[in-house]
Amino acid sequence: MRQDEVYGQLAQVSDPELDQPLTELGFIGGVRVEGGTVTVHFRLPTFWCAANFAFLMSADIRERVSELPWVERVEVRLQDHCFDQEINDGVNGGKTFAETFPELATGNLEELRATFRAKAFLFRQECLLRSVLELGWSEEAILDVRVGDLPVILLYGQGKALAERYLAVLQERGLASDATAPAFVHPDGRPVAAAEFRAHLEHARRTRFSMEFNAAFCRGLLKTRYCETEEIRALDRSAGARDKHPRLRK
């Protein structure tokens, strides 16, 4: 069914700051499909959420949903945001960020995205490192792991998923092509040396913690703002193609 296909695409869009899919964060307020036209309602935890991230997510929604072969037109509707009108006009009109905010932006958002992809890299790496450390692996053994070992090092519990997520971000950065290369590296691909392992781990841990904390904050504020329960969203999804604008209770 077309709506499920749209949600499948939306699950591939992440909040750049949190490295979590919009569908899991509750940021998708509803989807309407009418023939080849898709309208996606997009909402954020506060009126003031950073406009640059809001724009990135809106543009990513449009791009991912447009990939479906039957889609002719995508309209993203960011709502209840200090720049909602500007962002909606910009994204739906196919403009860049700098074109949308000519007075306020000094350029586009590649650098911002890159900064947060590096943080996401450390976040995913730290989650995996923590699992192997909990299993009692030595630092030497950890630094000896090769890219090619990642699919098989942890095959049980959550470990497998953590290794897959880390491998995916290595691939995204072009660091996974050589199966014999060290698996645990800095975001720029430099191997982590034994002498810096502890400091690197602490840095990665602070990054992971900060992102987790922000995600908890965003989820909590979103829930407070829209007073919406999981059940309502589940009902909406099964109800099919009608408009599912979120219930805003102020």
Binding site: W48, T106, G107, G220, K223, K250
Partner: protein, 339 residues
């Protein structure tokens, strides 16, 4: 004053409080409404239900309620006023030095009144800063780098005019620079919460203290790194504290990081009143114990001595308050009698 079960007295300075007016009559536009609704969302999200206010009260609560909530119910001995002007959103401003001065004039020993400046005001703003010092003898300023002005949507501490204002602060003895990072800073294409400009300013102005409000959240990792390098960078705990109720584990983890990287001598308690009330935060903080695993992992603890520093001693040092003498001054004032 908070008294422990054993009778120990804890002197409390609330490092971040406001007396704001976001009533519909004072709101200029949707941004004013959006601003107060966002604050109200914070209150609803993190407060125990009995401490969630109705929206009209939250918009404008008035000086009597402030005194009751903060000093009478809330254990606080001295409150620091941190103004946020927002004159593009509110007719008379949201929470200006002049608005806050109303209470300072009535209860002079109960308040530390801070000022504010905006480097985009140029020369006229430097004169305003001087007048604040002459009129109110301010020793600190709260800077809101995300304030809108005309077509501008914010500024940085490293802007040339900001440097001139910091020089002026140094000359005038305004030593405590409270920095608040908000989410709409210019340029919009950069990370709005980035704290690196604080690092540069702190290196250039070693005689000034930089108190980063809500500890640089949501960039805690960058903030911890900077604070560990710079001896004059402090952390204001507004927004961090209320997590103690609904997310105690996150609170414990943030505190463990802050105690390790920033240090017990550089953290200042703050309720961010009226977003949250100090009463329940202080009660929970005094009862709080650092979980064993975090004590071991980070090598830190929240002992009574550490709590004393965070709740009052650190701010007293920054603002030149002698706690023993100040207690005597407050013992018989109108508020002490009402309590």
């Amino acid at each position: 004053m908070f008294k422990t079960a054993d009778g120990a007295e804890i002197f409390i300075i609330d490092g971040h409080t406001h007396l704001w007016d976001a009533s519909p009559e004072n709101c200029l536009n949707k941004y004013g409404t959006g601003f107060i609704d966002c604050f109200h969302g914070y209150q609803k999200f993190l407060s125990p239900p009995e401490y969630v206010w109705e929206r009209p009260v939250f918009c404008k609560y008035g000086p009597e309620k402030y005194v009751k909530d903060v000093f009478v119910k809330g254990y606080v001995d001295v409150g620091i006023f941190q103004p946020t002007y927002l004159k593009e959103f509110y007719k008379t401003g949201f929470n200006t030095t002049e608005q806050n001065a109303y209470l300072k004039e009535r209860y002079p020993d109960r308040f530390i009144l801070n000022g504010s400046w905006d480097p985009r005001d140029g020369e006229a703003g430097l004169d305003y800063l001087t007048s604040l010092v002459e009129r109110y003898a301010i020793k600190g300023v709260k800077l809101y780098t995300a304030e809108w002005k005309g077509s501008s949507r914010g500024w940085k501490l490293t802007d040339p005019w900001a440097t001139r204002y910091l020089e002026k602060c140094q000359q005038l003895g305004v030593k405590n620079i409270h920095v608040h990072k908000g989410p709409t800073i210019w340029p919009l294409s950069k990370d709005a919460f980035e704290v690196h400009d604080v690092d540069e300013a702190a290196t250039s102005f070693t005689e000034l203290n930089f108190i980063v409000e809500h500890c640089g959240l949501p960039r805690l990792e960058d903030y911890c790194w900077i604070a560990a390098q710079e001896s004059n960078v402090y952390g204001g705990l507004a927004v961090v504290m209320p997590f103690i109720h609904s997310r105690p584990r996150y609170f414990a983890e943030v505190m463990a990081n802050l105690l390790k990287w920033v240090g017990a001598d550089k953290l200042l308690f703050a309720s961010d009143y009226a977003i949250w009330e100090p009463k329940w935060i202080v009660d929970k903080f005094m009862a709080f114990q650092m979980p064993q695993d975090l004590k071991e992992e980070f090598g830190v603890d929240l002992t009574l001595e550490v709590k004393r520093k965070i709740l009052g001693e650190n701010a007293a040092r920054l603002y030149g308050i002698d706690i023993a003498q100040h207690k005597k001054k407050l013992a018989n004032d109108a508020i002490a009698k009402a309590a």
